[in-house]
């Protein structure tokens, strides 16, 4: 982890809809952040706090209503496929193509020449442990394997920055644990800057160098916790005292915010049939 700044978020605010609209939502409020090159930063917070929105803004998938994001020395105004790769929570693999075809398709969009595509695809599939499943269809794979494939696709793009939006959110506890450990090993070998959104306290503490804790909606960064522990994180880290104390600290920070978010959503559900916007 160097001191160089990879991503600079300056005063970003975002709202959905217009004031007075039934669906008006203030997702993010004046958020600023500097992410160093090569660090793994976790964004954690209650539902609806805007962490996924912030990730979309950083990735150029959304333009903020106020503020700006800088990557390298350019302002982010749209997707930057050469600098930023995205892994989504939902299964974003194309169901009609095989795993390896999916991986290569990403590179096709980016503009990588064909012979290089094959080489990189094989390499990244091996790195995530899917070398034997290259010719399978996503429908034939388990949820965990599909997310590995999505990760392989993102890795093959060889970008400097990797954004992951609750990539393990749809998986069961045990798969999450295994994937978390493998991810840590994998990422220790690369020098990517990673921003990772999660709901899981344990996951955040296990993987991250720093954890940014969000307040309830409208979201803003409440506090940033540093975790000094070398990568790759060993499985024993989870049962250590250090882990538990950091996790407890996170819990304390989050507990009230989560309660606030839940009661707020209950209030909104009573007054309208659907919630507007999405965090």
């Amino acid at each position: 982890m160097t001191g160089e700044v990879a991503i600079r978020v300056s005063g970003v605010s975002h709202q959905f809809g217009e004031k007075g609209d039934a669906r008006f939502v203030r997702a993010l409020l004046d958020t600023s952040l500097e992410i160093a090159r090569g660090e793994l930063l976790c964004l954690i917070g209650p539902s609806g706090c805007g962490k996924s929105t912030l990730l979309s803004i950083i990735g150029g998938l959304m333009e903020p209503t106020a503020g700006a994001v800088e990557v390298g020395h350019q302002q982010v105004r749209g997707p930057l496929p050469r600098e930023i790769a995205y892994v989504f929570q939902e299964n974003a693999l194309f169901p009609w193509s095989t795993v390896i075809e999916n991986v290569k398709l990403g590179m096709l969009f980016q503009g990588v020449p064909r012979p290089e595509q094959e080489k990189r695809a094989r390499h990244s599939l091996a790195a995530v442990g899917l070398a034997d499943f290259a010719d399978h269809y996503p429908g034939q794979l388990s949820g965990g394997m599909r997310q590995r494939a999505a990760l392989a696709r993102a890795l093959s793009l060889e970008t400097g920055i990797l954004l992951m939006d609750e990539p393990f959110g749809a998986l069961d506890e045990q798969t999450r644990m295994v994937l978390g450990e493998d991810l840590s090993v994998l990422l220790s070998r690369t020098e990517k800057t990673i921003v990772f959104v999660t709901h899981s306290l344990g996951e955040a503490v296990f993987l991250a160098d720093r954890v940014a804790v969000f307040s309830a909606r409208p979201g803003t960064i409440k506090e940033i916790i540093e975790i000094e522990e070398p990568h790759p994180r060993r499985p024993e880290f989870i049962t250590s005292e250090k882990f538990t104390s950091i996790r407890n600290k996170l819990y304390a920070l989050l507990h009230d915010e989560i309660r606030k978010a839940v009661s707020e959503s209950a209030r909104i559900d009573r007054t309208e049939t659907g919630r507007g916007g999405s965090p």
Binding site: Y86, E90, F94
Partner: protein, 274 residues
């Protein structure tokens, strides 16, 4: 999912007959039971035709199928069958061409979809049989009107399913492609188009039935060289034997074509898992 009461589960499994032997034998082989049903139906037909219905109006299957060759021997019938088949093929191909192009044109843009979809659905829902005489008026009594009427029926299912295939794509797939830097053309070629293919084949299966209906309706209304000429001939000359034979041949052709379309649909929908 049986609706038999849970308490009486075992009774349901062994069945009301309860006999071993024939009952159990049939139960293990539903295809045999189906065959049996068909045999029974043919037997009913046979008995009704032989003993209960005037020979002018109904012929028994034994006679019909023994005399099937006579149908083909009738002057003009094989040619008429060929022409009808030709009409079906051309109508189907044109339906596919129009259906695919209109479907894509309307489905790809939210605006065109909102504007034209109600019009398309309105046209799809009208009973086209009421304007069949107009088709004959404008296209003549020959194959052209049959093809046109067939296309008129066949293009709608394809238009509607292609539009659905384009519009129903999960937004996450489009977002994912955009995040990887895909151009508009790339998104169409690699994401929208492959996603649309299974719906397209479903549309083609439906179009096959629709084209069959359209062409046959037009033939039955009045035909100079197609199969409709002979159905009218056999009807008006009170020749149930040959009429039933001809209808059987046409029914077999319809079943074969529908099955072909169904298999093509399954082949190209493989990635559409549950």
């Amino acid at each position: 999912m049986a609706h038999a009461p849970a308490v009486d589960d075992t009774r349901d499994l062994t069945g009301a007959a309860g006999r071993q032997g024939v009952g159990a034998f049939l139960r293990a082989r539903p295809w045999l039971a189906r065959l049996g049903v068909i045999v029974v139906l043919f037997a009913v037909w046979e008995i009704a035709a032989r003993f209960f219905v005037d020979k002018m109006f109904l012929a028994p299957p034994s006679l019909v199928y023994m005399r099937l060759y006579a149908v083909f021997a009738t002057a003009g019938v094989p040619a008429a069958l060929r022409i009808t088949f030709f009409e079906l093929t051309v109508a189907f191909l044109i339906s596919v061409a129009i259906g695919l192009s209109v479907g894509l044109a309307v489905g790809l843009s939210r605006f065109t979809h909102r504007s034209f979809m109600p019009i398309i659905l309105l046209l799809y829902g009208t009973p086209q049989i009421t304007i069949l005489p107009l088709f004959v008026l404008y296209f003549g009594i020959g194959p052209a009107s049959k093809i046109a009427f067939g296309v008129s029926h066949g293009m709608f299912p394809i238009i509607v399913t292609v539009i659905a295939g384009v519009q129903n794509i999960k937004p996450i797939l489009l977002t994912s492609a955009k995040s990887m830097g895909a151009s508009r053309w790339q998104i169409f070629r690699w994401v929208i188009f492959p996603h649309m293919v299974p719906s397209f084949f479903t549309g083609m299966r439906l179009a096959m039935s629709a084209v069959l209906l359209g062409v046959l309706l037009a033939e039955l209304y009045g035909s100079s060289v197609g199969i409709g000429y002979f159905t009218t001939l056999f009807t008006q000359s009170f020749d149930p034997t040959r009429l039933l034979g001809l209808v059987s041949v046409l029914a077999a052709m319809a079943i074969a074509l529908n099955e072909l379309a169904r298999r093509a649909e399954m082949r190209f929908s493989r990635w559409r898992s549950a």
